[in-house]
Symmetry: C2
Subunit: 188 residues, 2 copies
């Protein structure tokens, strides 16, 4: 299991042996059952994780409504950007929508890797850049005025998501309510 994530890092930049040894020691494999939480609002996020299998959702509470901010699946990196980097409690919840397997690094261990292994800074930078790019795409879609256009973007670019995610979560993710999403799907 740990080898998968090491292979992934290796594909970004070839890892020195001592770094591989440290990773094997520090990377933790974790299993989340459906509906189990990886992070709860009010807690500090201590782990950056890579999803080996499964699907998670992150959301925050606006009044009584859950607003979904992200869906992440196999191959994705997941953490609460705010909480992990600032070391403060945030309002973000992360929960498994399916049984999920993660490779995780603790914040302290990550800092240790950055300090001891210059190459790991290269990897950290590239992964952060990828995450940034993903977020830009998300913002681009969210800025569309019409609810229909935002939905069609998912149909076109992430059709698999429609099979794996309940519509009530997709609706708040796309900034519309459930009934609107249902009606958009009905036309056609």
């Amino acid at each position: 299991m740990v080898t998968h994530i090491i292979d992934y890092f290796n594909s970004i930049c070839s890892l020195p042996e001592e770094l591989v040894a440290d990773l094997e020691r520090l990377v933790v494999i974790r299993e989340l059952k459906k509906d189990e939480f990886l992070l709860k609002a009010g807690k500090v996020s201590n782990h950056a994780s890579w999803i080996l299998k499964g699907l998670v959702r992150s959301y925050y509470l606006k009044d009584t409504e859950e607003v979904t901010t992200k869906f992440l699946w196999e191959g994705a990196t997941i953490t609460s950007v705010f909480s992990f980097y600032t070391r403060k409690a945030g309002n973000e919840n992360i929960v498994a929508l399916e049984d999920t397997t993660l490779a995780s690094l603790h914040y302290d261990d990550l800092q240790y890797l950055y300090k001891e292994h210059p190459a790991f800074n290269y990897i950290g930078r590239v992964i952060t850049e990828k995450y940034l790019y993903m977020l830009e795409v998300e913002v681009y879609n969210l800025r569309k005025q019409k609810a229909e256009d935002r939905y069609q973007f998912i149909v076109k670019h992430l059709p698999g998501l429609l099979q794996r995610v309940p519509l009530k979560y997709l609706a708040t993710y796309l900034g519309m309510n459930l009934e609107t999403l249902s009606r958009i799907r009905a036309r056609r």
Copy 2:
């Protein structure tokens, strides 16, 4: 001028002398007059820049309408994330809203710095994280359903922007049209 940006990098992580020497050699100071372009749609973005003075706007064309995606000013990092990282032409335009002074690094020089100076990856990652966090805040605001709430977020967190930016640009940035923004400002 170049010293400002080197001081900034130094504040993130102390720079070895050879890195400072390379930076002094590679960082280019550029001046943009109001309405001059830093990047035009259809071109590959070759520079990452830091704004020393001034204000720029990035936008793309949706049909005939300009959709503003970002306002960035003193202290901010600016590039087209998509085009700069993928080395492909994008749809993003970046234009100065005020006379602006930039410190820029060419893509190739940046890659050279990353390869030759591991410490610079640390800096690149931290800057990317900051940008990422800024973007998360932006998404958070955009996901608000009510146009009024999105505007009030600016009033509360970026009141200075209201003095520096024409409302027509602010409107598309906030995902509403000019008349709606004007009416929101009229209620009080």
